[in-house]
Structure formats: structure tokens, C-alpha cells
């Protein structure tokens, strides 16, 4: 099995500029199938830009982005996005569609027959831990946690091999957040898709990711398994780890 066949997503020396200012300056990243990679960094460090490069909402100024071995410039853009689930930070449920309609958006774009869509909506509600009765409710009637689960269900609706999540749990209270972290691990074990998760919270990255990438000043400062990253001495990585030490989350690793 060649190296490139395993890589579902590959960024090769990617440069992006916005309004004359560089946002990404030479990012290279390989993500293998069924991995969960967390991208961590301060606000404005280029995390969201990286996600938009992967689903073709942005094109790199230099370098290339490969999805399933194919350059995003060569992908038909709408087909690419329909193959990639996307959970927005603000969730962005459509207020004029009921829960079932929101989940069914991508299957309808793909022209699935209605019975298949109905069955899929039911299965997804169960997967994300929501009662089937919620299907006819409106987004405005849901709690924050319920909305987040619907957002995940919508992203997973067409069974995408790749799932992009942009600060998906950012706006939730700690209890709901911890519950959704557990749910996420369960779902991920279930669907086994490749996940790229953007967060500014290192604790979340540690809780969910198989590898963590730190983005600083438009470059990938480090990328490693959580435990390996915890012992990093890189000055761009240490500040992000500090809150974890203070909270005692990594006590066992301190002496290494």
C-alpha cells in the first residue's frame, strides 16, 4: 500500500493570502483514513481557512490540496462539498426547514429517493442520540445541544468519508460539551470517517483527536499525537498547553 493511497487529505506547501496579507505560509499536512486530527491555534491563525481549502471554498495561491488523491482544483466543486460533511461553529441550521428537512439537505441535493431519505434521517437521529419525534420540530424550538447534534447529523447525512468541524462545541456549556465529546467518540467509532476538527481549546483536542496540529502565524508549528505534543518545548506550542497543566489534566505526563 503506497503512502499516498492512505492519505485521504493532503496539503502540500499551501500558501493563502487574504487582502494582500498572508494567512497560510507553506502548510504541509497529511491525514490518513479514519484519523481525527485537531487543528489548534489562536483566533485568526488560519484554522478555518485550512478547512475551507479542503472543501474547495478556497483555493490555495500556491501549493496544492489533495482530497482522496485528487487536487481540489480538479474536483467538480459541488460534488466535492457533497462528499465532505461540514459542521459550522454557528451550526447554521436553516430556520425555514424542520429538523428532518435540515438533515435531508445534502441527500436531496444528491437526488436520493424520498423513502431512502426518510430512513436515513431516522437512523441519523438515533446515531446522534435524538428522539425520532424531534424530526418535525423547528430549529428555533431546540436547545443548543440539540441543535449541535442536528448539525452533526446534517453533516453526516450523505455518509461522507470526510467530516470537517469548525469549533463545533465552542458555544456550549461545559456539561453539554463533555456529553457531546462522549457522543462524538461514539459516533466516530461508528461511522469511521476521517475528521478534521478545528478548536482553540487544547483540552478538547486532547479529548477527541488522534493527532493534534498547532497552527501559529500561518504555519503548522507542530503535529503529533497528544502525548508526544504535551512534552513539546516549542515556544509556539507551550502557551497553548499551559491551561491544561493548570487544570491538572496532564499531571501524569509532567516529569517526562
Amino acid at each position: 500500500m503506497s503512502e499516498s493511497a492512505r492519505e485521504v487529505i493532503a496539503l502540500r506547501d499551501v500558501h493563502v493570502a487574504r487582502g494582500g496579507l498572508p494567512v497560510l505560509r507553506g502548510v504541509t499536512l497529511d491525514v490518513a483514513a479514519a484519523e481525527t486530527v485537531a487543528l489548534v491555534g489562536r483566533s485568526g491563525s488560519g484554522k478555518t481557512t485550512t478547512l475551507k481549502l479542503i472543501n474547495g471554498l478556497l483555493m490555495p495561491a500556491r501549493g496544492s490540496v489533495l482530497v482522496e488523491g485528487r487536487d481540489t482544483r480538479e474536483w467538480p466543486p459541488y460534488a466535492l462539498r457533497r462528499r465532505i460533511g461540514y459542521v459550522l461553529q454557528e451550526i447554521g441550521l436553516f430556520p425555514h426547514l424542520p429538523v428532518a428537512g435540515n438533515i435531508a439537505v445534502v441527500p436531496r441535493l444528491l437526488g436520493w429517493p424520498e423513502p431512502r431519505i426518510a430512513a436515513r434521517v431516522e437512523a441519523l437521529l438515533e446515531l446522534v442520540g435524538l428522539p425520532a419525534s424531534i424530526a418535525t420540530r423547528w430549529p428555533g424550538e431546540l436547545s443548543g445541544g440539540q441543535r449541535q447534534r442536528v448539525g452533526v447529523a446534517r453533516a453526516l447525512a450523505a455518509d461522507p468519508p470526510i467530516l470537517l468541524m469548525d469549533e463545533p462545541f465552542g458555544a456550549l456549556d461545559p456539561m453539554t460539551r463533555a456529553e457531546l465529546h462522549r457522543e462524538f467518540r461514539r459516533i466516530q467509532a461508528n461511522v469511521r470517517c476521517t475528521v478534521i476538527l478545528v478548536t482553540h481549546d487544547m483540552a478538547e483536542a486532547f479529548a477527541l483527536a488522534t493527532r493534534i496540529g498547532v497552527i501559529a502565524d500561518g504555519t503548522l508549528a507542530a503535529i503529533d499525537a497528544p502525548r508526544a505534543l504535551a512534552s513539546s518545548t516549542d515556544p509556539r506550542v507551550r502557551p497553548l498547553l499551559e491551561p491544561l497543566f493548570e487544570a491538572g489534566a496532564l499531571i501524569g505526563d509532567r516529569g517526562r
Binding site: L57, E90, F94, V105
Partner: protein, 516 residues
């Protein structure tokens, strides 16, 4: 109560006008939706294109509706009379609110939602139809609601160009100074606006599901106030200060020139200050102003006074008419002074080329070709005892289409432009020569004489005998050709009525000094 009686006695006509009104508003709003929403979509997508579009629609909105009707009337294809021009005007007015709310609705969609749509793999078209338009729809419906309610109000003015609708009652009532008839148009129009508003508000609220606001009464209430206030504001007249001779006139060119003639003659011969209250309105408004003491003198026409004011059956002997009118006015403390000399009878007019081609000289000659013609008449002529119904009876007219009702100021042009084929105008109109129209002789003497006479308050004449002398100095001095020339100088030559009157008086003066 009188409104109720009027409506029940006119119920067939009322329903017809109401239906016309609804059709005018309905079709124009529908067309504005078909045009406005796509334009709004383009404008929302491309701000650089959108800004001038919205600006243009704004400018159109600021044109007074009567002026807009006037602009469009002579245009080819959309011009002409009646419903077509009215619908075009109503569409133009409806466009702005629809375009603007479409732009606002689409631009107002949360960017998170459009980004979500894009990230899920929607094409721009899918984004528009599945996200942007559904979310903008309540806002767009609010714009349609505003457009339709404005349309109900504006459509009342469409009656001025013969498009029919409830405005016909308002205009008819205004020219008759009959509040009941005005209300017969204004009240149902206001109720219609409320009904349309309520209906579309329901649609809007239904679309918004939960988020209904309570601005419900605002646009409709505004229209109600505007329609009724405009109707009454036109009727009421303010009271002037004392100790000056107040000269009045009706609201057409000849009357304004005659008002100037009276005013300048009084000023010159007596030195008393004259206050000009010209351009008052129709016959009934001038008459009321005179009786109420708001004016001291104005020029009336004997036939008009006899039939329209004193409601006598039409009479064709000039001397008898003058006697009857004099007696009628005297009872009200008003004095009829000697006639000025010309007879401003109703002139049945056709185009000059038709008259020459068909050899038409008299009204009777026009009866056979009129079977293929559409006539056009002013509101007053359609209503008056000495107007349209008697004309048809006397000559046995059968027209191809029912008469088009329109404002007098537009009627000559309509005839010249072949919108209508036969009109009733004024024998002294300057436009007869300007548009090459031919006046048909009233060979069966249907129309009463319309000798121009000053009518004055008797009390004023007693207080100021010199005013009486000044007015009597004009007796018999103004011939029909003089009057046509003066009307022509103002209507076509664009001269100032006061200057035209001054020139005429100067010429009279020279004639007086050289003749004896």
C-alpha cells in the same frame, strides 16, 4: 346614511367600478411582482448594478401620480387612455417597494446560513431557491403588501385618465361638490386598502410562522387618511382678509384669463385693491365661494348657472335663460351683470381631417360615422342635465363604445392623438385651432346658451358702485374670436394669463378712444 342610499341606488355601477379598481391593482401588482423580484434578486447579488436600480425606482416613486399619467399618455404603445396607462403607472409605483424589500430580504439572510448552504454543496441557484428566497419571502411579501396598498390609493387617480375605478366617484363628487359622491369613492377605496392589507398581512404572518410583528394598521391607516384628507382638502377653501374686492375663477385657462380681466379692470377703473382667488375648482366650488362671501365676483355662463346651479330643465332661448338666472341669483343676494359678449357653449369636436374627409358640418352629420367611434367626455359633462344623456337623446347617437370619462385638460389631446373620436369641449378653446379640430354646429339647438356674465355679490356692488361701473364697461366687448385668441395665447403660446389680459384691455382702450 346618504352614502348608503347613494350606493344602493348605484349598486350596479358601484360594483363595476369596484371590480375595475380591484383589477387595476391586481394586475399591476402581479406584473410588478413578476418584474420586481427578479430585478431585486439581481440587485441584491450585484450591489454595483443594484444601487442605480434602486435609485431609479426611488426617482420614479417621487413623480406625482397625476404628472406620471400625463407623461405616459402621449407615448406610443403604452400611451393612450384608460386601463393600459393606469396599469403601467401603477406597476412603476409598485416596483420600488417590491425591489427594495427583495434586496433587503436577500441581503438580510444570515451569512452563516448562506455559508452553510455553500459548504453543503449548493450551487448558486440552489442557494437562491432553497435558502435565500425562502428566508426573504416574508420580507418580500411585506413589500408586496405595501405596493398593493399604495396601488389601491393611487388607482383612485387613474379615473382622471378614464381608467375607471372608485376614483370616478371621487372626481365626480369633486366636480359636483357633493361629499356623498366623494365618499362613495373614498370610503370603499379605504376599506379596500384595509382589506388588501389585512389579507397580505395574514400571508406574511403565516410565512413568518412565529415572528409576527404588529405593524398591521400602519400602511392602511395612512392611505385612509390620505385619500379622505385629499378629497376634503380639495373642497375646502380658506377665508381671506376683508376690504378688498376678491375676484374668483374656476380652474381652467379661460376662467383664469377672465378673472384677470375683471381684476385688472377693477384695479384700473376704481383703484380698489383686488385679491385674486383664481383657479378655485369647478362650477360648484366657485358658486359656493361666491355665496359664502369668499369671493365677490366671478364669471359664470348663463346655461351653466341655469342647469347646473339652479337645476332648471335645459332652455335654448338666450334671453329667457338670462332672465331665469338673474332671478335665481337675485334671490340669493347675487347680481348678474350684462354679458361680456361671447357664448362659450359646449362644442362637439372631431378631428379636422375627419370633418373634411366625411364632410361633417353639423352634429347631425356625425351621427352615422359615430357608430364606429368612441367618444370622450369630462366628468361634469357626463353628469349634467345639459350634457351627455340629452345629447344622445336629441341626436340619436349610437357609439361603438361607451364614453371614456377623463379630465377636461386631457380631452383635446386625446382626440388629436386618436384615443377618442368625438369630444365635448369648449367653443372658445384655444386648442381647437392648435390641434386642427373641427367644431360641429348644434343644428338642433340642443345646448343652452352659455353667455359669459359676471356674477357679483349685491352687497359689494352697493358698497362700491364704481366696481359695478367698471364691470359694466366690459359688456359686449369680448367676442368668441377674442376669447379663443386669448386662450390660444395661454394654452399654446405659453403666455402669462395676466399679460394676455393686460394686452387685451390695452387694445380695448385704444378701440374705445379711437372709435367715438
Amino acid at each position: 346614511m346618504t352614502l348608503f342610499r347613494f350606493l344602493s341606488s348605484h349598486h350596479a355601477e358601484f360594483l363595476h367600478l369596484l371590480l375595475q379598481h380591484v383589477m387595476l391593482v391586481g394586475w399591476s401588482t402581479f406584473a410588478a411582482i413578476l418584474v420586481g423580484i427578479p430585478v431585486g434578486i439581481v440587485a441584491a447579488r450585484r450591489p454595483r448594478l443594484g444601487a442605480p436600480i434602486v435609485w431609479l425606482a426611488n426617482v420614479v416613486q417621487t413623480i406625482p401620480s397625476l404628472a406620471m399619467f400625463g407623461f405616459l399618455l402621449p407615448l406610443p404603445y403604452i400611451g393612450g387612455l384608460g386601463a393600459r396607462v393606469a396599469i403601467v403607472v401603477l406597476i412603476l409605483y409598485a416596483l420600488l417597494p417590491i425591489i427594495r424589500t427583495t434586496v433587503a430580504g436577500i441581503r438580510g439572510v444570515d451569512p452563516v446560513l448562506t455559508e452553510a448552504g455553500r459548504a453543503l454543496g449548493m450551487t448558486p441557484r440552489q442557494l437562491l431557491t432553497q435558502v435565500e428566497l425562502p428566508l426573504a419571502l416574508p420580507t418580500i411579501v411585506a413589500g408586496i403588501r405595501v405596493a398593493a396598498v399604495i396601488g389601491v390609493g393611487t388607482a383612485t387617480i387613474a379615473a382622471a385618465i378614464g381608467a375607471g375605478g372608485l376614483g370616478e366617484y371621487i372626481f365626480r363628487g369633486l366636480s359636483m361638490v357633493d361629499p356623498t359622491v366623494i365618499l362613495a369613492g373614498a370610503v370603499p377605496a379605504a376599506l379596500l386598502a384595509l382589506a388588501v392589507d389585512g389579507l397580505l398581512f395574514g400571508a406574511e404572518a403565516w410565512l413568518k410562522r412565529r415572528r409576527a410583528r404588529s405593524s398591521r394598521m400602519l400602511p392602511a391607516a395612512a392611505v385612509l387618511v390620505i385619500v379622505i384628507a385629499a378629497a376634503f382638502a380639495a373642497v375646502s377653501a380658506a377665508r381671506p382678509p376683508r376690504e378688498a374686492i376678491r375676484v374668483g375663477s374656476k380652474n381652467f385657462t379661460e376662467q383664469i384669463i377672465l378673472g384677470e380681466l375683471l381684476a385688472q379692470t377693477i384695479e384700473r377703473d376704481t383703484g380698489i385693491t383686488v385679491e385674486r382667488r383664481l383657479n378655485l375648482g369647478g362650477t360648484f366650488i366657485a358658486d359656493r365661494a361666491l355665496r359664502a362671501g369668499d369671493i365677490d365676483v366671478y364669471i359664470e355662463y348663463t346655461g351653466t348657472a341655469d342647469t347646473a346651479i339652479f337645476r332648471n330643465a335645459p332652455e335654448t332661448d338666450p334671453a329667457r335663460v338670462l332672465d331665469r338666472v338673474r332671478a335665481g341669483y337675485a334671490a340669493a343676494g347675487l347680481t348678474v351683470l350684462p354679458p361680456l359678449g361671447f357664448d362659450n357653449t359646449f362644442a362637439i369636436l372631431v378631428r379636422g381631417d375627419d370633418a373634411r374627409r366625411l364632410g361633417l358640418r353639423t352634429i347631425e352629420d356625425a351621427v352615422p360615422p359615430a357608430r364606429r367611434w368612441t367618444p370622450g367626455f369630462g366628468y361634469e359633462f357626463l353628469q349634467r342635465a345639459d350634457g351627455y344623456p340629452g345629447l344622445v337623446r336629441t341626436y340619436g347617437f349610437r357609439f361603438a363604445a361607451p364614453p371614456v370619462a377623463m379630465d377636461l385638460s386631457l380631452i383635446y389631446r386625446a382626440l388629436a392623438d386618436r384615443r377618442v373620436d368625438l369630444i365635448a369641449g369648449d367653443a372658445t378653446s384655444g386648442l381647437i385651432a392648435a390641434y386642427d379640430l373641427a367644431m360641429l354646429r348644434d343644428n338642433r339647438r340642443y345646448f343652452p346658451p352659455y353667455d359669459a356674465v359676471p356674477v357679483a355679490r349685491a352687497a359689494t356692488l352697493l358698497r362700491h358702485p364704481e366696481v359695478r361701473a367698471a364691470l359694466e364697461s366690459l359688456a359686449g366687448r369680448i367676442g368668441v374670436e377674442d376669447m379663443r385668441r386669448m386662450n390660444y395665447a395661454v394654452d399654446v403660446g405659453r403666455q402669462d394669463p395676466s399679460a394676455v389680459a393686460r394686452d387685451f384691455l390695452a387694445r380695448l382702450e385704444r378701440g374705445r378712444t379711437s372709435k367715438p
